[in-house]
């Protein structure tokens, strides 16, 4: 069903962008989640990075895809961890301070996170517009029989 497919496509993008925004919020919330340097048991928080991937409609034998279009929206294929080394801050009184008085902070750049959050919000808005347009089209189609 062509029109209901477009609802599902836009909805998949809304889900993915919202999850991305959740990850960004989580990164910002954990900007001060410290760890002890060189101690694998007490690692600092690692920045989470979403990986988006195109979703394609599965084609079964004998089930022809109309007009050869298989696009079915977007999905978050994976959530990876940023492997950049932690930021070391000298604070000997901190409970996580290592032997030389350094504390490991996660390598989170607040400016980058805010820019990502704005990108995700704008993409979300674009998909809401597409969803509303689909609604408009579907309602308009119902008017044909009036």
């Amino acid at each position: 069903m062509s029109i209901f497919d477009s609802f599902a496509i836009s909805a998949s993008a809304l889900t993915a962008e919202r999850l991305r925004l959740d990850l960004i919020s989580n990164n910002i919330a954990n900007i001060n989640s410290t760890g002890r340097p060189n101690d694998p048991a007490q690692e600092p928080y690692r920045r989470k990075v979403p990986v988006f991937a195109q979703m394609l409609k599965r084609v079964q034998a004998g089930d022809g895809v109309r007009y050869g279009f298989r696009g079915a929206g977007v999905k978050m294929a994976a959530v990876l961890e940023d492997n950049s080394p932690p930021r070391l801050v000298h604070d000997p009184d901190h409970p996580h301070a290592g032997e030389r008085g350094f504390v490991a902070y996660p390598d989170i750049n607040i400016v980058r996170e805010m820019v990502d959050a704005m990108t995700a919000t704008r993409a979300y808005e674009a998909n809401v517009t597409a969803l509303n347009a689909a609604k408009d089209i579907a309602l308009q189609a119902l008017e044909i029989g009036r």
Binding site: Y67, F69, V74, A126
Partner: protein, 134 residues
């Protein structure tokens, strides 16, 4: 040619079908605006329909299904989905131009409205002809 399959109704139905497909394709493009290496698709339809309409007057009579009628049959016009692989908008290989997509989305919605209104008017005329009252 029946009353429900004249050139106007056939063309309008094809147009609505193509607008629905185009909306689906654009929704997919917008959904993948942040997907690395995604390449956008577009729907080609109006030029094909115009070609079929231009060629319609020179069609030849067909007495057998193996005969060539010449020209393109209006009922046989189908929208075609094209993927543009050559361009890139950003360094991640994605080529969705969000401004272009949103503008085309608005145009497509209005086009769908126009076509559906036209089809409704057409059926209203048929209804008037059948019943004698509007």
């Amino acid at each position: 040619m029946g009353i429900f399959s004249d050139a106007a109704i056939t063309g309008l139905k094809k147009g609505l079908d193509a607008a629905g497909l185009r909306h689906r394709v654009m929704a997919d493009n917008i959904a993948n605006v942040n997907t690395p290496r995604f390449k956008k698709s577009t729907v080609v339809f109006e030029s094909l329909l115009q070609k079929a309409l231009d060629e319609a007057p020179v069609r030849m009579a067909v007495a057998d299904y193996r005969h060539f009628g010449g020209g393109t049959d209006l009922a046989g016009v189908r929208p075609v989905v094209m993927r543009s692989k050559a361009t890139s908008m950003r360094t991640d290989g994605n080529n969705v131009d969000i401004d272009q997509e949103m503008a085309a989305l608005a145009v497509n919605t209005i086009r769908y409205r126009a076509l559906s209104t036209d089809l409704r008017e057409h059926y209203a005329l048929l209804s008037l002809a059948i019943t004698g009252r509007g």
